[in-house]
Amino acid sequence: MRKVAILNASLRERVGTGSARAARRQGFVPAIIYGEKKNPIAVQVLRKELDKILNKPGFFSRLICLKVGAEDYRVLLRDLQRHPVSDLPWNIDFLRVSATAVLTVAVPIEFINKNISPGIKSGGVLNITRHSIEVCCQAENIPDKLTVDLGNVKLGDSIHISLISLPNNVKHTINDPYFSIATIVPPILLTDINVEDLQEENKKS
């Protein structure tokens, strides 16, 4: 289990489009805290502070201690909206979590031993179909990442979810052991490119 990240936030007195836009103009990101059958709280987070968390991998599975005034909330980043063009964080949803709460969280997958994989050595490309996998566990037991060893994977092989070993007290939400998370596929071949065009290029050169 990793350390709990600390993030400062301030209360938003007004909610709605106008106040959210005003907060963004001042360098904040509007956010909301909900969950545990309590009333939602509208807050705002400084964008510079938030970027420090968002620039590290696994931000959806990291517990955050959100400090709002004198109160502290243990939260999980549940949803993140970004601006379509600038990709700046636009709105955030935080979920309150207690220590005993059982959650479904998306945990990032790390692929190791790419360099020694026979499939990739022979020119194959790792085609990742799932960059993260949903697991069911208590908030305290959320793993940092799940690792997949590519040491023995050949060209054309499919990597199934059953290859991932989970820590104790953590369960897959996907029950199918043959659920594919990645494949080693052949790269773009030169057959895609017109042979005539290549010949023309060669003549020119």
């Binding site: 991998p57 696994g58 063009v85 990709d87 085609n127 790269p187 773009i188």
Partner: protein, 137 residues
């Protein structure tokens, strides 16, 4: 070049491009992407030209995804023909691109190589573009 196999109508209205892209704004397949930041109509020839520029630069490595499809027919009248007498015949296919749209995605190559390939591709396109990288979730 890309074009639909079958269409319901032969000719379409010209249309306008308003607002920002609602879907297709995040990387779904690869680690790197080319994002449009201005609105424009992109033709099938331009998409094909950009695809060739990318595949030739990355050579035998990597994997490319094209996230846009030209499904709007554009008609034009022949040269030296007077106005009137109906709409011209369909000449080429285009795709209306709104700002924020991911047009190409690439994986299995280094960041520098992907950046160079997308730089070459963006020169073939009528839109301003930005290179985007997947943030690990």
């Amino acid at each position: 070049m890309l074009f639909p196999k079958r269409t319901k109508f032969r000719k379409a209205h010209k249309g306008r491009i308003h607002g920002l892209s609602k879907s297709g704004t995040l990387l779904n397949f690869g680690a790197y992407g080319l994002k449009a930041i201005t609105p424009e109509r992109v033709t099938a020839r331009q998409i094909e030209s950009a695809r060739r520029a990318i595949t030739r630069h990355i050579r035998r490595t990597g994997r490319l995804w094209i996230r846009i499809f030209p499904d709007i027919p554009v008609s034009s009248k022949p040269a030296e023909v007077r106005m009137g007498k109906g709409k011209g015949s369909p000449e080429f296919w285009v795709c209306r691109i709104k700002p924020g749209r991911i047009m190409f995605e690439l994986d299995g190559v280094s960041k520098d190589l992907a950046k160079e390939a997308f730089c070459l591709a963006s020169m073939k396109l009528p839109v301003d573009t930005r290179f985007v990288v997947r943030l690990s979730e």
